[in-house]
């Protein structure tokens, strides 16, 4: 039981960190554009303006609906992992089972969302980097010089949303959850 409690704490801490990381990745701007196109884009939202006119990116509009369950899951994971830590500290055995099972389910869901997150970050980069260009145009009137838009990347966040790190974290979560379930089943049996 003691090792089971330690695993509960380990799984809860890991998932707390993972959910915080996920929310950070969803909410913090991954890309910032300066110049004629100004604004920011994260993997969960974007706000970009060409001079004062808002730019609509159809691909990102669709993607940001697809990541809606990821938001809910991150919040749910934050809540269950916090509850897991409270249970460990307070010893509220009565509620341990739903939390431990939720942690296990969270690990499964996190793994299944990894591919989606990686793809969303790739498409976001593709769409946003297309805007970072020189807006000089030649027409019958002459050359219209509008200036450039430059792309600035949040390098810390970019490293977080690489497939390797996301997948490793998700596998770690899954391994912890599996170990935890095995240990509790043995403990109860």
């Amino acid at each position: 039981m003691n090792s089971s409690r330690k695993l509960l704490l380990a799984a809860s801490l890991l998932q707390l960190a993972y959910s915080a990381l996920l929310l950070y990745a969803l909410l913090t701007p991954l890309y910032r554009l300066t110049g004629v196109v100004e604004g920011e884009a994260s993997i969960g939202w974007y706000s970009l303006f060409f001079y004062t006119t808002r730019i609509h990116i159809p691909a990102l509009d669709t993607l940001h609906i697809l990541v809606f369950p990821v938001y809910i899951h991150a919040i749910y994971m934050l809540m269950t992992s916090t509850a897991g830590i409270i249970l460990y500290m307070g010893g509220l055995e009565k509620y341990t089972k739903p939390i431990e099972e939720s942690l296990y389910a969270n690990a499964l869901v996190a793994t299944s969302f990894t591919g989606l997150l990686v793809q969303v970050s790739r498409i976001t980069r593709r769409e946003v980097s297309q805007l970072a260009t020189d807006y000089t145009r030649t027409t019958s009137a002459g050359t219209i010089i509008l200036g450039r838009a430059s792309l600035h990347t949040n390098h810390i966040l970019e490293k977080i949303v690489t497939p390797e790190i996301l997948l490793t974290t998700a596998i770690l979560l899954l391994a912890t959850g599996t170990l935890y379930i095995i240990s509790t089943q043995h403990g109860r049996g």
């Binding site: 609509h56 509009d61 609906i65 509620y95 089972k97 969270n106 019958s140 002459g142």
Partner: protein, 379 residues
Amino acid sequence: MDTRVTPSTIAIIVILLLLLGRLFWFPFAFFLVTGSSMYPVLKTGDLVVGEAVYLSGYSEGDIVVWYRSISFGVIHEVIEKKPGEIVTKGVNNPLPDPPVSASSVKYKIILSIPRSVWIPLAAAVLVLYAYKKRRNLVKALTDTGSEPLSIALWVFVFFALSNIATIMLSGIYYGGYRTSIPVPGVELSGLKHDPLGRHVVLHYSLNNTGIVGVNNCRVEAANKEFQCSYKEIRPNGVLVLGIPEDAYLLLWTNSNGSIYRFRLEVNVSLDRGVLVADYPVTGSWNRLKTMKEGGSLRIFNPNPVPIKAAVTIIYYSENVFGSLSPVNSTVEVLSLQPGENKTVSPEGYEAVLARVKIEYKLIPTHNPVVEVYTLELKS
């Protein structure tokens, strides 16, 4: 295990079926709007209800859902319906979509629920449902005797279903539509050179922008640069740029033909960006225009440079034999400014007729132009 079919179970099944409408072409289906092509009629996040076209058909002006494949669908307005195919357009798109086969149209939109209505409503229903079932929830959470992994399964199923639901709802794919950036459009719709007014009028067609100022305007004539004599911005994208007289004089002194050319370089400030342009402008040196007015001759200089004309008048009177003979002559040099009229009025010497010879250099390097006019004088 309780196997009763409750109203809430039926409601969940109906909602799931509506979400899956795009896969099975049910009579009705839910769709979630993404993108801005239908703005302001439909906004991202709005929930729309589609009625299968096999139930009631559709006509021009209806908003329909068409699919090229399960992953490529569009919610747009029908603007043209032809046998076997239709043309649709997003109300916010500048151009219509390419024609699609009529068989790909699956649903007609009959109801749209704004996101500001359906999201709070759905949240309220969920909260109410959870409140109503609170005892069951607490029991499920504290029941240590339940099946192993049953909660884990439900959590996983919930997220799997919510993931499927968002894919089903937002499966309307706009990937075929590129991000449209409201880049200013400036086209030259007209260039008019008025040599006498010594200006060039530029007409621009402006889209998404306006002219704010002229930063620079230069005239390059005969390998020499001049600043424009004036710059005027008129409404509706019209610019009037003054060409200095010195530029015309230099062109004239260096001219070796009746056509002259210069370049007009402009740098115009737009409210979005800068327009840099270089326009070739041509003109021609024209002969002095003359017009007889009774016993007078009116001479007009249509050129942008002053022209000096030597005017020789030979007066004739009738001699005793009744024939005409010259009695006197005068020579005068007229300096005609651009656009200036001068009148030559031979008088005196009891002359009945005058021959007026005008001699001037239209092009400095060419032979002079000589024109002779005969005027009948009142005796």
